[in-house]
Symmetry: C3
Subunit: 360 residues, 3 copies
């Protein structure tokens, strides 16, 4: 099994996400969550089941009191050098459900307090007071740097990547998978479903991660509905082809909806525009979901969105039973709680509690 | 009973505070705290009694441990888009007394993180992770907007207005009432007392709210002592007249003190000046409380102030037993705890605990 | 015994740290932590023993659950008007170990919210909601001002100075002492050891405090290794001389290492430069610790650093068993927990728990 203590930083850093994944697959040895690719089907299934058990246990006061005792002896640092209120709050909630105490560190890069100190030293110092680091950064690779650093120190606490740079946001991918698991719970699970992705597929990291994770499920068909300029990248298409996944590119949202089990909407990520206003020139009116599109859905189909949304979903859709994007937010909280419980090998204990208490 | 799900936002928003009050009177159905007017005498009395019970239970370690278990399964979001350290800390303390976990959201309006997202969506997303929203905003009506929005969603959690715009700050009014209740506990309660308000009565929302709430008590006489330019508004006078409340305008503080049961001091709210420096031209030296004024007080009279103060109370007054403004701060913590316990219908449980433990 | 209620602020403020110390020595009456000098040998020893007991109890989930119950009924305010992430996090951790709830107040001096309010009033208001104030400020003497103020109020809660101005940071001195206590636990304790201080000894308040505290130990020899321009101040030398402590000034790091039991490294504190870039002109290359210096150490010698470091310790040193500066960080957390437990007179209770549970 690959180990971070056997590889130098330079060599590790140059690996692709696929190549890094094995370093984080053995939950017992390297307890970090860095790339979506580290989760195989078995772990995805186990996490989804645990998330649902936690969610159900949490429905009663006694159940939540039990959950809050599970990791009441642990402390988590939320190190968010890139602001993200929703991800931050979701992780806070996940930690508090399990009783972890929280400490928050915001952007430190510009603080004169740290003048002359290396970032490695700052993070390692802060880590002294904690048992878990949850880290978000605009700098790609910072979370994996810290994971590597701590795995090569005397106090190797786990690191969770809560979004780093343009590319990785593994817990977002987990919550998307969990939302699909829940949505199809009574309908045979994710296997065999048809998922359509809509909007800015070129730059949305949630779509890119979810698309790759879905290749672990049997017979899932993927359809990418976007204007040409925002279509899904060649790299993702290559992965899908290599794994024999059925997929299709399209620019006809209304034509695709009737055969979709899930419609994953996204907003235009104009913050990544190479030149200012570039994506404002793209007509996305045909990639929006409104009352008319609602009428095209099959009975069990769901509409997802990673939020925040702009005009791509009309607010009238919010009240439809097909709309699961608000629940998707809460799913993030449950799956993150499941993930953290698993990192501290408390999954079995929680499953036993669930079984013994015959929770509805 | 009026319900937020039966009225559109436009129609609701245009109601006066008096007209909105019925929408928040039925604690079982619409569990929001939006306007001071929603509290009738029975609820004010019940809240005061509960606050005192909580305060007494909290005196022992075992008692506080019990209180912290009451809402240990709930999470509160403090959404403060307008900073107010004292109100913030008071709500934090109130929540922690009852065991609620806290999440904080500061000003989000200027964050690029939310570019393009509606405020409705932001608040609704954040609300996903919480069971209660405590909201302060410089924008009048934001708290009621969120209350209306959530009452029309699938997850209608309660909203407490912690100060919105110029007009409403209902929990401040509650703490003022509670301070009066405590001050006159051994002296027949608030009924029949004479309260004098001093200072900037035109713009102080605490005075305006408290004056109206006091109309629910029998035979309370109100006296407004201020320079002409800062006298209490015609609108409040009209309410008092309509309800047959005895009141008087005065500009003679020293003349009024000897017959006062409570002297409610306020500072000049020059942040609301229409033109810069406007209120600096008003001579307020005759509306200040110092050593001489102390000597005019009757034995049981109390001096209140919502704080912060400036020069209107000399610091020598702080050490007088008549000065209750520091205790008033802590009263805010207790009454807010009582309010939150009541919102989650835990009032009966706490009263039972109090009765069973024969707390002194 | 000296008491803050018997002395006016003006007279108290002008005392030296030595003269202030007696006001804080009687833990039962004046429960503030203001100056390093207030700790005599007996208290230093007791705190070190308690810190180790807390650290060992905390190793198990049950033990930490016990510790978290000790002060679960108390609330601490972290009032940090000067940012210091590491001190802040260390105090947070210390409080949470003992179950204290936390409230945070950041810089309030520039906030329009407080316009016109005195700092005394602000702090006293905030203190209403708490049972302990932990205070850091760039203003020398603020913590002692607040301690004096509260000791002369009806709600005299304790104040801990978490760094004020240039001079005092007593809990940093405590953690340094505790690190020495632990390092020499198996080697006869601090008595008789030889400590060398290296770097900017002129301005580093940690060195200045530690040097004075060490005079309470028997036969400790102190050696100050620095470039002339950054040598230890005459005032400290005078104290050492007066107390008959053996000490030496040196500029030869490599010559001193072989006889050192502890090497206390520091960075150049150029933020205190009188003129910009002043200390950049000093050659400190001879006051750095690298691989060569490692080879000069005796087997049990330790390398300390208050952190943050710059180039004065090479990162290769981090992996040496001599390097205790990371552990030093965690020691800060344990000694602060011991200090807070003692302030609330919970030391005996914790010692009893430790004894009864025969903790390894």
């Amino acid at each position: 099994m690959a180990s971070l203590s056997d590889i130098g930083w330079g060599a590790f850093h140059e690996l692709t996400a696929e190549q890094k994944a094995p370093y984080f697959r053995d939950a017992e040895r390297e307890r970090h969550v860095i790339v979506a690719q580290q989760f195989d089907r078995a772990r995805l299934d186990a996490l989804g089941i645990l998330a649902t058990q936690i969610r159900r246990i949490a429905k009663t006061h006694a159940g939540l009191d039990y959950l809050q005792s599970v990791l009441s002896h642990k402390r988590a640092m939320l190190y968010f050098s890139q602001p993200s209120t929703r991800t931050f709050l979701s992780f806070c909630a996940a930690c508090e459900i399990l009783g972890l105490k929280l400490g928050e560190v915001r952007d430190t890069s510009t603080s004169s307090e740290f003048k002359g100190e290396s970032q490695d030293d700052s993070v390692r110092t802060f880590s002294s007071y904690f048992d878990l680091i949850i880290m978000r950064s605009q700098i790609g690779g910072l979370a994996e740097r810290v994971a590597w650093l701590l795995s090569n120190s005397e106090r190797p606490i786990p690191v969770i990547n809560a979004g780093s740079g343009k590319d990785q946001h593994p817990t977002q991918a987990l919550l998307d998978i969990y939302t699909l698991q829940r949505s199809f719970e009574e309908h045979g699970g994710i296997d065999g479903k048809r998922i359509i992705f809509v909007g800015d597929l070129l730059r949305g990291r949630t779509v890119r991660s979810l698309s790759v994770l879905l290749t672990q499920y049997r017979d899932v068909e993927q359809c990418f509905v976007a204007p040409d300029a925002l279509q899904i990248g060649e790299d993702i298409q290559a992965i899908l082809r290599e794994r024999g996944v059925r997929f299709r590119l399209s620019d006809d949202l209304r034509g695709e909806i009737p055969s979709a089990d899930a419609v994953y909407m996204t907003r235009v990520q104009n913050e990544w525009d190479a030149s200012h206003g570039e994506s404002a020139r793209i007509d996305i009116s045909r990639f929006c979901f409104g009352e008319y599109e609602l009428g095209l859905l099959t009975p069990h189909a769901v509409i997802m969105h990673p939020l925040p949304r702009r005009e791509e979903i009309a607010s009238v859709v919010d009240h439809s039973p097909h709309a699961v994007y608000w629940r998707q937010m809460r799913n993030g909280m449950w799956i993150r709680a499941a993930l953290i419980a698993t990192l501290f090998t408390k999954d079995t204990e929680i499953r036993d509690y669930f079984a013994q208490h015959e929770i509805a």
